[in-house]
């Protein structure tokens, strides 16, 4: 796969080069910002959902209150109808009416419903007489209102409990808030609910009471103008209640179930105007913006201000509430996944490109090595052939003088070729380009070949070179090309370092694991302290006797590396002045390679 990146991707890889994390980060950021839009949407939806929920809850609270007051209105109006229908309504009739009235079904027994008779002061005695006739003991009209012309008195009240009895004779118009509501009722000719007055501020919360009045006009038809109404006013049917108690009955359970707290104020939201507060007031917590609201309810001329605090957790369902969080969580997870995926892609791609580059470099190295080797060898090869041919007599007989010169040329050329070989092998070794190709090889035949090839060189100096091998083939799994080089190198060394006519023997034996090749010579030997050194690179044996011997000192180093690669060893025994024996051990079968210092692959 050699996909070449185009210009743009190259730019991206350049960026990635500076920091591998940069492009994935950008991509992740893009993904994250894309999720911002749905997140906003979700938040917006949540907000309007919450608004709707709050609206509906507050509306249901208002409905409950409105219904209650409508019931009151019905009840009071029926009382007015009673007064109109009958000329002289008695106390008993009042009781009977409200005991059995159908409209009382929805209303609790302890709700007060009474009749406040309005009269001119001078007619006071009439009222007192009436009261006596009704059987009220100790009836007296109180308090006295010195300035006003009009007075009033409660003459009927239902139910007739002891508490309620004490209100009989009460001049309710003397109270400012009642008076205000009463006047309002005349002005509007409709029911009026009293408002908390300033004077009530000294009574503590919970004790206040409100009163709702429906006016009773004598003449049904002539009640158009204010004046007429005042003229015709007979009295008021009223109900009196404690708003805290009433609202508690109406709303406490609802507030608990719907998870909100509520404060109800008369007219204005200030502490002195507090009518009612749910008992979970301090428990409910919520976010200012979304869960707190104030509504106003209009009730028969009075306004109640309702201050709600909703519990965030319950306004909308938990799943709805968590929707924006879920969206952003998904967004972040997604962008994290994208980040990781992009990162791994870039890592992989960078690695691929690097490997590609490495492979290209390796290929270039190979080409260079092969080119160098060829260019250096070709001219020398030609010389070798032609000078060799002259020496062989191809161009006629060669006299000794000519032979001498020609041989010098030939030898020089040989040395050159030898050096080229060694340097190239070394280069390959160092760059890790050597790969062993191991096949089962007959070592017997290999040794015989090598020995035979070196006979010419041996006989020139007068050495005796022989192979001592078993009759049968000896197979070992080796790279024959490499091992041949090793043998050639060591044999050639043996020949070189044996000065006089000597004996060089190549002996092949084996044990259970190894094939053993022993190359023995009768040469100058190697000093004890030099035995390890000669395997090192660029070391040559330097003695007086070896001054004439050529060599780059690469051979044994190379031979050792190659044998090690096969899992084998080269050892030597030597006596200075007597001779040297190199012992090469090669595993017959595949063995684990011990790690060596060079980076050759196998």
């Amino acid at each position: 796969m050699t996909k070449q990146p185009n210009r743009y991707t190259k730019k991206i890889y350049e960026l990635a080069g500076r920091s591998l994390y940069f492009p994935p980060f950008i991509v992740a950021l893009v993904v994250l910002s894309v999720t911002l839009l749905p997140w906003q949407n979700a938040r917006h939806n949540l907000l309007s959902s919450q608004q709707k929920a709050i609206d509906s809850k507050t509306k249901s609270v208002e409905a409950v209150i409105q219904n209650k007051f409508n019931d009151y209105e019905n009840k009071l109006s029926s009382g007015v109808a009673l007064m109109r229908a009958n000329q002289d309504v008695t106390k008993q009739q009042w009781q009977d009416f409200f005991n059995t009235s159908a409209t009382t079904e929805n209303i609790a027994d302890n709700e007060i419903i009474g009749y406040l008779k309005v009269f001119e002061k001078q007619n006071k005695s009439e009222i007192e007489q009436f009261a006596m006739s009704q059987g009220y003991k100790d009836f007296y009209i109180h308090p006295d209102t010195p300035g006003d012309q009009l007075s009033s008195s409660v003459i009927f009240v239902h139910p007739l409990s002891n508490n309620n009895m004490s209100t009989v004779g009460l001049n309710m118009l003397a109270q400012n808030d009642t008076k205000e509501a009463a006047m309002r009722a005349i002005t509007t000719a409709s029911p009026a609910l009293s408002k908390l007055s300033e004077s009530d501020s000294d009574s503590s919360y919970g004790d206040e009471s409100l009163i709702m009045l429906v006016p009773n006009f004598a003449n049904k038809t002539k009640n158009v103008t204010q004046e007429q109404r005042r003229q015709n006013l007979q009295g008021y049917v009223y109900t009196q209640f404690q708003p805290s108690q009433l609202l508690d009955e109406l709303l406490q359970s609802q507030s608990r179930q719907q998870h909100f707290s509520l404060q109800v104020y008369s007219e204005e939201i200030k502490p002195s105007n507090l009518l009612y507060q749910t008992n979970n007031y301090n428990d409910i917590e919520g976010d200012e913006r979304n869960s707190k609201t104030t509504r106003g309810v209009s009730l028969f001329g009075a306004t109640w201000k309702m201050s709600y605090q909703f519990d965030d957790k319950y306004v909308v369902s938990t799943s709805e509430r968590s929707a924006p969080t879920v969206v952003i969580a998904i967004g972040m997870t997604l962008s994290m996944l994208v980040f990781l995926a992009t990162l791994s892609f870039f890592k992989r791609r960078t690695k691929e490109l690097q490997e590609q580059k490495d492979a290209e470099v390796d290929l270039a190295k190979d080409e260079l090595l092969s080119l160098a080797s060829h260019q250096m060898r070709t001219p020398a090869t030609g010389v070798k052939q032609y000078v060799g041919m002259v020496l062989q007599g191809f161009a006629g007989e060669v006299d000794p003088a000519q032979r001498l010169l020609l041989e010098k040329a030939y030898d020089g050329n040989e040395r050159q070729l030898h050096v080229i070989n060694q340097i190239l092998q070394l280069a390959k070794l160092e760059s890790g380009r050597i790969v062993l190709a191991k096949h089962p090889t007959d070592l017997k035949k290999l040794i015989e070949d090598v020995v035979e090839e070196q006979q010419a060189v041996a006989s020139e100096v007068g050495h005796s070179l022989k192979a001592v091998v078993p009759k049968q083939p000896l197979m070992a799994k080796i790279d024959q090309h490499m091992i041949r080089m090793v043998l050639e190198n060591i044999v050639s060394n043996a020949l070189k370092y044996t000065l006089k006519a000597g004996t060089i023997t190549v002996k092949l034996t084996q044990n259970k694991q190894y094939a053993i090749i022993a190359i023995a010579d009768t040469g100058i030997g190697i000093a004890e302290n030099k035995k390890e050194e000669i395997f090192k690179q660029f070391t040559r044996l330097h003695t007086n006797q070896t001054a004439g011997v050529s060599g780059t000192g690469i051979g044994l180093y190379l031979a050792n590396q190659l044998v090690n690669l096969h899992g084998g060893t080269i050892e030597l025994t030597s006596t200075e002045g007597k001779g040297t024996t190199f012992i090469i051990k090669l595993p017959k079968r595949q063995m684990k390679i011990k790690p060596s210092s060079s980076n050759i692959s196998n």
């Binding site: 080797s373 030609g382 052939q385 060799g388 191809f394 390959k428 190709a437 070949d449």
Partner: protein
């Protein structure tokens, strides 16, 4: 031993080398033919039917490995192949052996004497 001369085909694009080899081998009484690239080599392999072929690895048009690939099994049986090169590339050497070459030699290693010895040994196998 056949009375006929043994035949050797030299497939090599470097004429100075092939001429030298030809001279050396003809002196040893072999019948020698030359080809200068792989395609020509294959042709002459068919027509000349040598006992031994000296095959250079790097040649124009068709290289040594290509020739080995295109040889028929019969040809491989009848003709020993010695592969020559001055490049000494491991991959090529392995390929050559895998495809049935008897021997690989570095050209710069073989003196005239070496060449003759090598041919004598290989041709009789």
């Amino acid at each position: 031993m056949s009375k006929l001369k043994q035949k050797i085909l030299i497939v090599e694009d470097d004429t100075s080398i092939s001429e030298a080899y030809q001279m050396i081998l003809e002196k040893e009484n072999y019948q020698v033919a030359c080809a200068y690239d792989g395609n020509e080599g294959l042709k002459k392999l068919g027509s000349f039917n040598p006992d031994l072929m000296l095959l250079d690895l790097r040649m124009p048009h068709l290289d040594g490995v290509g020739v080995l690939e295109k040889m028929t099994p019969k040809q491989k049986k009848d003709t020993s192949v010695i592969v020559l090169s001055n490049y000494d590339m491991q991959k090529e050497i392995d390929e050559a052996y895998k495809l049935g070459a008897t021997r690989y030699i570095l050209k710069s290693w073989a003196s005239p004497v070496d060449l003759v010895q090598l041919v004598k040994r290989s041709i009789s196998e």
